[in-house]
C-alpha cells in the first residue's frame, strides 16, 4: 500500500533528475567554487583579478543557487520538450515557505560555523563533505546519488583526517564533488538522450 503523496513526490523527483541536467549544473557550480578557492590561493590579494574572483563568488554563487532551477525549467521547455515531455506544475501554495527554509538553512550554517569554531579548521571541511553527502542522499533517492553522497562524505573525512588547511581542503573537496557531479550528470544525460531518441523519431 503506497501513500499517493509520497509516490507523487518520488515520481516528480525521478522526472527531475532523469536527464542529469540538475547534476551538471551542480557540478559546474562546485567547480566554480573550487576554481575560486584556487584563484584565491595563487592571486595577489591586492590585485584586480582577486577582487573579480571575490565578486564572482559573492554574487555568482547565490545567483546560480536561486536562478538555477528556473534556468533548467526554461531550457527543458524551450529545447527539450519533445524528449522531456511537457508539464505544468501547480502554483506554490505558500511562496514564502521556501524563503523561510532558505533563511533557516542559512542561520543553521552560521550557527554550525560558530559551534565548530573551537575545532581546528580542517573539521569544517570534514563536516561540509559529510553534510553535502547527506544532502545528496536525501535529495537524490537513486543509486547514483547514494554513490555521489558516499564519495562526498569520504572525501570530506579524508581531507579532515589529512589535516589540510581549510583553503586546500575546500579546493580538493569542491573539486572532487564538482568533477563527480559533472561526470555522473553527463553520463545520465547521454543515457537519457539515447533512451528518448525514439520519442523524437516516432513523434507522439
Amino acid at each position: 500500500m503506497t501513500n499517493p503523496d509520497v509516490l507523487a513526490k518520488r515520481l516528480l523527483q525521478r522526472a527531475h533528475t532523469r536527464d542529469g541536467l540538475a547534476e551538471i549544473l551542480i557540478g559546474l557550480t562546485f567547480l566554480m567554487v573550487a576554481a575560486t578557492q584556487y584563484a584565491w590561493s595563487v592571486l595577489p590579494h591586492q590585485g584586480l583579478w582577486f577582487r573579480v574572483t571575490v565578486l564572482v563568488y559573492a554574487f555568482g554563487f547565490p545567483v546560480v543557487c536561486f536562478a538555477g532551477p528556473r534556468w533548467l525549467r526554461a531550457l527543458r521547455r524551450r529545447y527539450l520538450v519533445e524528449r522531456e515531455g511537457y508539464v505544468e506544475h501547480l502554483p506554490r501554495p505558500n511562496p514564502w515557505r521556501r524563503a523561510w527554509l532558505v533563511g533557516v538553512a542559512a542561520v543553521a550554517v552560521v550557527l554550525a560555523q560558530v559551534a565548530l569554531h573551537p575545532l581546528p579548521d580542517y573539521w569544517v571541511t570534514g563536516f561540509t563533505g559529510v553534510g553535502s553527502g547527506a544532502l545528496a542522499l536525501v535529495c537524490g533517492r537513486a543509486p547514483r546519488f547514494y554513490f555521489v553522497g558516499a564519495v562526498m562524505a569520504v572525501t570530506g573525512l579524508g581531507v579532515a583526517f589529512a589535516r589540510l588547511p581549510m583553503e586546500n581542503g575546500f579546493l580538493i573537496l569542491f573539486g572532487v564533488m564538482g568533477a563527480l557531479e559533472l561526470t555522473m550528470g553527463t553520463a545520465a544525460w547521454i543515457r537519457f538522450m539515447g533512451e528518448t531518441r525514439r520519442a523524437v523519431s516516432d513523434g507522439r
Binding site: P4, G85, Y86, H89, A199
Partner: protein, 98 residues
C-alpha cells in the same frame, strides 16, 4: 480499528492498480502533464501507459487533450474533479487503515 481495515476492501480498484496509481498520483501533484512526461516519470512502456490512460479516461478520472506546442504534437492529461475526489477518498481509507 477492524472496521477501518475492512474499509480497505472499498478502495477504488481502478486507481488501486500500481501503474494507474502512479499516473493519478502524479497528475494530482501537477496542473497537467503530457504523455512523454508521464512516460519518463513512470518508466512504463508506451503501450502500457496508453492502455492505463484509456482506462482512467473511460472512468472519468482524467481528461485527455490532443494539441500542439509549436510543431510538436502533445497529448496532455489532466486529473478531473471526479479523479481528485476518488484519490482523496483512496488517501482517506489508506490513512485510516495504516
Amino acid at each position: 480499528m477492524g472496521g477501518k481495515i475492512a474499509r480497505l476492501g472499498e478502495v477504488d480498484r481502478i486507481i488501486h492498480e500500481p501503474a494507474r496509481l502512479m499516473v493519478v498520483a502524479l497528475l494530482a501533484a501537477v496542473k497537467e502533464a503530457d504523455f512523454q512526461y508521464l512516460l519518463n516519470a513512470t518508466e512504463l512502456s508506451k503501450g502500457n501507459l496508453s492502455v492505463h490512460l484509456s482506462k482512467l479516461q473511460e472512468a472519468g478520472y482524467i481528461d485527455i487533450e490532443k494539441t500542439f506546442r509549436g510543431k510538436y504534437p502533445l497529448t496532455i492529461c489532466r486529473l478531473t474533479d471526479r479523479g481528485r475526489e476518488v484519490l482523496a477518498e483512496y488517501r482517506r481509507i489508506l490513512k485510516a487503515a495504516l
